[in-house]
Symmetry: C2
Subunit: 123 residues, 2 copies
DNA sequence: CATCTGTTATAGGAATGATATAACAGATGG
DNA sequence: CCATCTGTTATATCATTCCTATAACAGATG
């Protein structure tokens, strides 16, 4: 998977990294059990500091998207807590929907957007 | 509307302010043409600096959620650019859906969440 | 033993977030 | 006219965050 960082974005690099990897998992570009590049390798590849990648990996580990093994490095491993996941999704979705509603995007249009994305990702 | 700030959150105060006001608009607690408190009044009310509120108002103005008039202060005024709005909503939604998919939240559950929120807000 | 993992410590520089004080221009109401 | 209310701008300061840099450590591999 190609990870793309926008160095001119106002979003922190480590946040972009987290989001890109999560997007990669959701779109099956990364699969359960698959290894991610080592912190040093990925840092070298995208031209950032090792600690920036390490920070992203540590966050993804803490949030249950991957597990880290000194032998194999960072490995995709999803920790599912469905109830908490739904609660978190609802909160994040609320912010997005609020902005959308202010722009006159109605319920049907939002459902269409959701379907679009699920379709595009093969869900 | 009661604006609630979490001073222990890792989200910046001015970001929380923006989100709360957008949520307020989406849920009809604020209506088109309605006045918001003055920067000084709101800052006093929630116990933050005037400039912090001013920053939030300036952002909301730039993003087209309100207009600012020296006479009447900050007034809800939605600037609708439907195409751009859909594009932005899609991007924000992608991040939320990616996290949700990683937690095994399927398409139907996501649609249910969307309906839940629209229902709760009277959409 | 050399080399690869993640991890930790420490430090420095740049940018951001929040505060504080102060002043200005425009509009309002007495 | 004047006191008072708007948003806005200009400084300055302080703490925190982001990113980088250098270095070292423990565990596992071949």
């Amino acid at each position: 998977m190609m990870i793309q960082i926008d160095f001119h974005s106002d979003e922190a690099i480590y946040v972009q990294l987290c989001n890109q990897i999560i997007l990669g998992i959701a779109t099956s570009q990364f699969r359960e059990g698959e290894q991610l590049p080592s912190v040093r390798a990925l840092a070298e590849a995208i031209g950032v500091n090792m600690h920036t990648v390490n920070k992203a990996y540590a966050i993804l580990q803490r949030e249950g998207f991957l597990k880290i093994d000194r032998r194999r490095g960072a490995v995709i491993a999803l920790d599912i807590d469905k109830l908490r996941a739904l609660s978190e999704a609802r909160e994040e979705l609320s912010i997005v929907l609020a902005r959308a509603i202010c722009r006159n995007i109605n319920r049907n249009e939002m459902h269409a957007l959701v379907d679009d994305i699920y379709d595009a990702w093969g869900g």
